[in-house]
Symmetry: C2
Subunit: 192 residues, 2 copies
DNA sequence: GGCTTCTCTTGACAAATGTCAAGACTTTTT
DNA sequence: AAAAAGTCTTGACATTTGTCAAGAGAAGCC
């Protein structure tokens, strides 16, 4: 149940057996079927969520009913709407399972306690936040400066394992491009 | 020299006179003329930078010579390339002054020391990081889901004070839209 | 096995956006 | 005061991207 998590965490810092046990004691294990929601717009996000198996997506649905994927979360990724969680406000976002998945839930309060009681965990969290900010920053750069074709080739070179795991229309949604355009862009680049 | 900074910081937490003095003792004051670079692509970013007066921009120049603005930094904003700073690698970005400005520089090492010795400063920093992440996240949402017109109206409603302080082409560059398109979009929306 | 749903592609066309160039106006520099 | 540089707008046109619709194939479901 926690093997994947332990393995993940051991790569992120130095934790004692006691640390692992403490953290695991406040984690909740949950299985999700493909297409099952974990969070729906309007819910308040309660948990930091670690994906130990499978694949989630975090997305926004606009007034026209279009989905816009904010994040892909395969194994060893964290997801959840931090803003909703911190402010206690309903989320604008949805999270659901792209594949059958297994996730670990960590309540906001417990997360804060872990940060306070386990220095290594606190360091890991702030390190993760920094890295995450760098990823968001880079995504903005891509988003404002590249064409559809360039975005696509950037994506497949940066996330090859995601590229061949999700349908093309989800990549399109992530990149802010229509699925048809991406299909054409890809068939063009094959020719080259 | 530090009045603006003190005023800013006092709104962000509870600091003793001693805390202020300690922080100020490691700050470097610097004036920038309009158009003066503070960071050029290829430099390693050394400082956390607080804008106490004026206006900076943080931008990327692509192979075609096009500028893409990643961040506007008016008074009371922090700027700098964190990634370059943390990794000690040359930055891809430029920072320069849009107006004559006054900035305060805080060396990475001193910043870390402040975080360790002044708990309130540490809290302030992590709070700022969280808020910044939320801003980046929202910008991605805007960027992948809205049209040029929607992006523009979002921008002017969210950042009215920036809108009438910078030339239109910089807003265009920030939004990832051409200056001409933005000019047209704006004249359309005036008619409504 | 057969039905349904998903996924991807392709065509035809529409709409949005970019590019280039020119001109008017303002601000800055000398 | 004159010159230079920057800003904004507009037109004409090209290019990119989106939309709608159809169809083929694959995957999943009962």
């Amino acid at each position: 149940m926690f093997e994947a998590f332990r393995k993940y965490l051991s790569g992120k810092g130095t934790f004692t057996t006691h640390d692992y046990e403490l953290i695991e004691s406040v984690l909740t294990f949950k299985k999700l079927r493909k297409r099952q929601y974990f969070l729906q717009a309007g819910d308040v996000c309660q948990f930091h969520t670690f994906v130990s198996k499978g694949f989630l997506r975090y997305y926004y649905v606009d007034e026209k009913g279009q989905e816009h994927i904010m994040q892909f979360a395969p194994e060893n990724y964290w997801t959840g709407d931090r803003e909703s969680m911190y402010l206690g406000l309903p989320s604008k976002y949805n999270i659901d399972a792209v594949e059958d998945s297994e996730i670990l839930l960590l309540k906001k309060e417990d997360h804060d306690i872990m940060c306070k009681t386990i220095p290594a965990f606190n360091d890991f969290v702030s390190e993760t936040l920094k890295k995450n900010a760098a990823v968001l920053h880079e995504r903005i750069r891509i988003s404002i400066s590249l064409s559809a074709e360039e975005k696509y080739s950037y994506f497949i070179s940066k996330y090859p394992s995601i590229s061949n795991r999700v349908p093309l229309h989800m990549i399109a949604s992530y990149l802010g491009v229509s699925a048809e355009t991406l299909s054409r862009v890809r068939s063009q680049s094959v020719k080259k």
